[in-house]
């Protein structure tokens, strides 16, 4: 550019020097005069040219800027400037293009992820509602029972469960804890609760319910999930509790005289581990004013983690101490108190496990009407005779019948009931036997009913108790015992097809 301007300047000076009228001025002066003019004109031209050139060269950059702003505004399909040269601008354009497609891809992906996460979240909320809906929240309104329960899952859904139903004055209840948390555990929770619902009632014993739940779960349990559970059957008329513990925390007991302790609950295997495991049940008298608190380890293992990382568990001692303080409180009060205490104790430490509580207190109901008949309905299964023993024991205690008399009378009833269980119904057919007991004017009246084949024991030939050993028949002893022990025995085949055996016994109540 400089060379071109110098050549141009020399040419102009020579032109004016030989053709112009200013021949008077010396050549050097002319060079200075025209040179100055030409210098400024050239500078102007140079400025104009450079401005034009820069404008031309930066045009694609301005377009890139506009594109970038447009893309940032969310218009991912904004066209990019066309570059024909093979320089840095082309590289920049390619980079822009890559950014555009990448952005589009990631945004689509993010939208899909967000949508599915939102769907999962809303499904979890629905699952939570369904799970909570499975837990009975309508509690019985009865004089003889105060029951309340609650479940607080650690996540949206949990693996804890409780349930209860009352049938024929028998309260069936369960608390359980599926190993693990979250959705997998909640599936087993639903299964266990449904099984319990179907099995409870029907005059089932606690151990039987446990056995059948175990069979149902253990026989198809690929993932080896197991459930710890405690099942109880409280007869509200006989004040008798039978229970079966499948490796669950021993419930806390408030005895009628106000002592708080853990229930003696022998441990069986958790549900789901071994099919056909023989669950054993225990039993105890459960007089009025006795209360039971069932809980999952979310209570006793509620944790407090201090600032320096020290850990402390809620533990059984705090639980028993709390019960001691709330001995007279209602079920809902006890549960509210415990939940609050756990919250205060954890002091912000995140709840690690589901927390479930069920409290029941057996209250007074029958207004001291000791002449009202009491009834137990049994299935045609031999294990029922031990349940009957519990029932009859509480009848005897209510009427101050001494231990030996109870045993003798129990033998008479058992012999007959066992006979019904063994022979009244065809093999494999489910049937029932009902026992009603009442004491009026020191006379015990027992009525035993079954719907099986007709059988009149009064027509049965009595065994010869005086026969010699070799002539002595093995059999027929039972009916002989019933006849011998009781004062009277009356049989009737009712019009609607029941064997009705009525037995009476005068009670020698002590005169002291």
């Amino acid at each position: 550019m400089g060379i071109a301007a110098s050549v141009f300047l020399v040419a102009v000076v020579l032109f004016f020097h030989f053709t112009g009228d200013n021949m008077t001025l010396p050549l050097t002066h002319q060079i200075v005069k025209y040179g100055t003019i030409v210098f400024f004109v050239g500078l102007t031209l140079l400025f104009v040219f450079c401005t034009w050139a820069i404008y031309q060269m930066s045009s694609p950059l301005r377009q890139f800027t506009e594109s970038a702003v447009s893309i940032a505004d969310g218009n991912l399909d904004t066209p990019l400037p066309k570059i024909h040269s093979e320089d840095e601008l082309l590289q920049l354009r390619n980079a822009f293009e890559y950014m555009q497609t990448s952005l589009k891809h990631h945004i689509t992906e993010l939208q899909a992820t967000t949508a599915s996460k939102e769907r999962l979240q809303s499904e979890l909320i629905i699952a939570h509602d369904i799970q909570m809906g499975m837990l009975t929240t309508v509690f019985p309104e009865r004089d003889d029972l105060d029951l309340f329960a609650s479940m607080t899952p650690a996540k949206e859904v949990g693996g804890d469960l409780y349930d209860f139903i009352i049938e024929d004055n028998e309260l069936f209840f369960i608390i359980g804890d599926v190993a693990g948390k979250g959705v997998p555990a909640s599936l087993y929770m639903a299964v266990t609760r449904t099984l319990f619902r179907n099995l409870a009632g029907n005059y089932q014993s606690a151990a039987n319910i446990m056995r059948q739940m175990n069979h149902a779960i253990a026989s198809a349990n690929e993932s080896l999930v197991f459930v710890t559970a405690f099942v109880g059957v409280l007869d509200l008329r006989t004040h008798h509790l039978t229970y079966c513990n499948a490796a669950h925390n021993a419930p806390a007991l408030i005895t009628a005289d106000g002592q708080c302790r853990l229930l003696d609950a022998e441990t069986n295997l958790p549900i789901g581990i071994q099919d056909h495991y023989r669950y054993e049940e225990q039993q105890m008298a459960f007089p009025e004013d006795t209360a039971l608190l069932l809980y999952t380890d979310g209570l006793t293992e509620a944790m407090y983690i201090s600032a320096d990382g020290g850990r402390k568990l809620f533990g059984e001692d705090r639980l028993l101490h709390d019960l001691e303080k709330n001995k007279q409180a209602s079920a809902i009060e006890v549960i509210d108190y415990l939940k609050q205490h756990v919250n205060v104790f954890a002091d912000g430490t995140v709840q690690g496990d589901d927390l479930t509580l069920l409290f029941l207190r057996h209250g007074a109901s029958r207004k001291n009407d000791s002449t009202a008949p009491r009834r137990i309905i049994m299935k045609n299964e031999m294990t029922e005779v031990s349940r009957m023993r519990g029932f009859f024991l509480s009848v005897c205690r209510e009427h101050d019948i001494d231990e030996d008399t109870f045993k003798t009378l129990n033998l008479a009833i058992e012999e007959w009931v066992a006979n019904v269980i063994n022979y009244a119904y065809p093999k494999g057919i489910r049937g029932h036997v009902e026992l009603t007991a009442k004491v009026v004017d020191n006379v015990l009246t027992l009525v035993i009913k079954d719907h099986g084949a007709p059988f009149d024991p009064t027509q049965h030939t009595d065994v010869d108790v005086d026969a010699e050993l070799n002539e002595r028949q093995i059999g027929g002893l039972g009916i002989h015992l019933v006849k011998t022990i009781m004062d009277s025995m009356h049989y009737e085949r009712s019009a609607d097809g029941y064997n009705v055996l009525t037995l009476t016994k005068s009670l020698n109540i002590n005169n002291n």
Binding site: L411, E414, D466, L469, R472, H480
Partner: protein, 100 residues
Amino acid sequence: MNIEIKEQNGSYLGILTGWIDTAEASQFLEDLKPLMANANKSIELDCAQLEYICSLGLRGVLQLKKESTAKGGSLILTHVEGEVKKILRLTGFDKLLDIR
């Protein structure tokens, strides 16, 4: 219900404990089998801890007595008290069994 069997100098001692009711009776009959197999020896059934026995349980004892008599062994019941004593009387078993 529990039955504990001890052998000493060729004679047998069976210690019966608790309730033998109808539900437990079949197990009781099963538990008696070792004694049944040695019915030719002298056998003692200690009933001090026995609280209750139903007719099915009594049948087991009667069978053992018959077997013992047939094979020339001996069977005695010791420490028979209270309710069990009463049941044996009511069934006439007190006349059939050697109770000491």
